[in-house]
């Protein structure tokens, strides 16, 4: 089959690889109909997580049709079923899965000893996302083996376009969880840093959850225009002070809830000198992350407010002002998304016409164009916000 394969830093190739096969009775094989490039794939593209092997298949936003089912998964899946695959692999039986904490499933990371060393305790297996999380082949391919397939799937009806359903795999529930874990209440001002695909979903989720003001922060005009389309107030951080504007919008109190949809690769520019220092340290492997957004959120958030983090951080972050956070009594909530916890509800909202996630797709191309689309997406060229790929 064909697949997008990681060969090194900035080196993704459209390779021919061997086909996946059922390895375990709970497995299923799906024929991929659509997949996408996620912002967090760029961290791997940039080799910021040094736990990839040349030959690893990329991708964790995937949907398709079931073409083969292991004997133990036949109770819940059959050939021909149309499914979206969550980026988290979950057993559905462990203590964490039973609590709804699917992204920290205790059994699905098949390289648990590596995860234990890296994180203290291993987290769930993820598709196409390094050997710290199981080293599972990803879904930017023609076929995907889904482990624990009896629980790792979202059945979706026929008759709705892939464009509307694909993002149940990651960015829609991630944006939703960002808003939910911020504990948004009517009357709240919610500030969202980053207007990439996850930030866009978080903005819409905050609106649906009744935030009075949603403020979107970025520097790319096209992304800000997309945020404004959903009713967000926009701040271009290259044109004005984020802190001053947020304080002005909240009568000097600061936003009640702050959502980080940026994570480790904050935009580097001289107007944000901490990002330049972080980037230099990152190059020398003296720091993993560029936590500019985290610093700014902690500084500007209203005392007693909530910091919700869904932008991916990778390791060590320097100069995070915990003194400010502690003294202001901020609550931090963060996680990789517990995808299936939200997807039933979100699927219903898509069917009900409350949200149409396809708005975020700016580039829809053949899978073979994947290598160049990684560069286009990373460079934010051609107005690129979200790339959908079809084998």
């Amino acid at each position: 089959m064909k697949a997008l394969v990681w060969h090194g830093k900035e080196d993704i190739r459209y390779d021919t690889v061997s086909d996946p096969a059922i390895e375990h009775p709970r497995d299923a094989i799906i024929k991929v109909t659509s997949c996408a490039i996620c912002g967090s794939d760029l961290h791997l593209f940039h080799n910021l997580v040094p736990a990839m092997l040349p030959g690893d298949i990329m991708g964790h936003e995937t949907m398709g049709e079931v073409v083969d089912v292991g004997s133990a998964a036949k109770g819940s899946l059959k050939k021909g079923d149309r499914v979206v695959i969550p980026f988290t692999i979950q057993c559905g039986e462990c203590d964490q899965c039973r609590r709804g904490n699917f992204s920290v499933c205790e059994r699905s990371n098949r390289k648990k000893e590596v995860g234990d060393k890296a994180f203290g305790h291993a987290t769930a297996g993820l598709f196409g996302y390094t050997h710290l999380t199981g080293g599972y082949p990803g879904g930017q391919a023609e076929y995907l083996r889904v482990p624990f397939a009896d629980t790792t799937h979202i059945k979706v009806p026929h008759g709705i376009d892939d464009e509307k359903l694909l993002f149940l795999s990651d960015i829609l529930p991630t944006g939703w969880q960002a808003a939910v874990q911020a504990d948004i209440q009517p009357g709240d001002t919610v500030a969202v840093w980053g207007c990439g695909p996850v930030g866009q979903m978080a903005i819409r989720s905050a609106i649906l959850l009744g935030a009075e003001q949603v403020v979107a922060i970025d520097h790319l005009p096209e992304r800000l225009s997309m945020a404004a389309a959903a009713g967000a107030i926009t701040i271009d951080f290259e044109q004005e002070s984020v802190v001053e504007r947020l304080n002005a919008l909240t009568k000097g109190r600061g936003p009640d809830k702050c959502i980080d949809a940026v994570g480790t690769e904050a935009h580097v520019n001289l107007g944000q000198p901490d990002t330049v220092l972080d980037r230099a340290k990152q190059m020398l492997m003296a720091e993993n992350d560029r936590p500019h957004v985290l610093r700014e959120m902690i500084y500007v958030c209203r005392p007693g407010g909530v910091i919700s983090i869904v932008g991916v951080y990778l390791g060590l972050s320097d100069k995070v002002p915990m003194g400010q956070a502690m003294n202001k009594g901020l609550t931090f909530r963060m996680a990789q998304t517990h995808v299936p916890r939200w997807t039933g509800d979100l699927l219903r909202r898509i069917e009900d016409g409350q949200i149409d996630p396809s708005f975020v797709i700016t580039h829809k191309v053949d899978l073979s164009k994947g290598p160049e689309m990684y560069a286009t997406f990373r460079d934010k060229a051609d107005g690129c916000v979200k790339v959908m790929l079809q084998p």
């Binding site: 080196d11 190739r13 298949i57 799937h153 504990d183 975020v360």
Partner: protein, 197 residues
């Protein structure tokens, strides 16, 4: 160096294996930049380790300290050149080339018994400078956002009922779960819809 080289992490037995490699996301300019970055590493180490030998070869006796400093500069420019911020490293390399050429110009006189060596080195540095400039231009062109090409996505609300009508729509049938609300209680076990299938 990937962590995988140190830890011995290996791909699992049944995973798909590459049978035939296809086209890469790396452009020619990216690959040239990478080669120049590794060249910087090699030259920088040589200048740091053997400045006396280089000085004698070029007739730059007494400039060992300067050559060693240039070695450190080469290594410093190699780091960004080998990173994703290649244009920063290549710009630093071009500046370094100018310094190298200026220093070599001081050795290009007939009184220098090694002037022929200095002339060859000058030609080499000039050639490398051309490659640096070509790589810089290529990388800039390949990874630029075209000026004025910003798209307007103000018609993409994603909220079919409109932004104002959608505000608070989900509150009618969704409560913030206990583990995410201000009381911060431990999660109730929520069976996922997928698990009920």
């Amino acid at each position: 160096m990937p962590l995988t080289n140190i830890t011995g992490i290996a791909r699992s037995e049944g995973d798909p294996k590459v049978e035939r490699k296809g086209p890469s996301s790396l452009t020619g300019a990216d690959q040239l930049a990478r080669a120049l970055g590794w060249f910087s590493v090699g030259l920088g180490l040589a200048e740091l380790i053997a400045p006396g030998r280089l000085a004698r070869t070029l007739g730059l006796d007494g400039k060992e300290g300067l050559i060693r400093a240039y070695g450190a500069r080469e290594l410093a420019s190699a780091v960004p050149t080998l990173s994703i911020d290649k244009s920063v490293g290549l710009a630093a390399r071009i500046g370094g080339d100018a310094l190298d050429l200026a220093t070599l110009a001081g050795a290009l006189h007939r009184d220098n018994p090694k002037w022929r060596n200095a002339a060859v080195a000058t030609a080499l540095v000039a050639g490398i400078t051309l490659l640096d400039v070509a790589a810089f231009k290529g990388v800039k062109a390949a990874h630029a956002r075209e000026p004025g090409a910003d798209r307007d996505y103000s018609d993409r609300s994603g909220l079919p009922r409109g932004a104002q009508a959608s505000r608070g729509l989900a509150r009618k049938d969704f409560d913030i779960p206990p583990d995410y609300n201000a009381e911060g209680r431990v999660a109730d076990a929520l069976p996922a819809p997928a698990l009920q299938a």
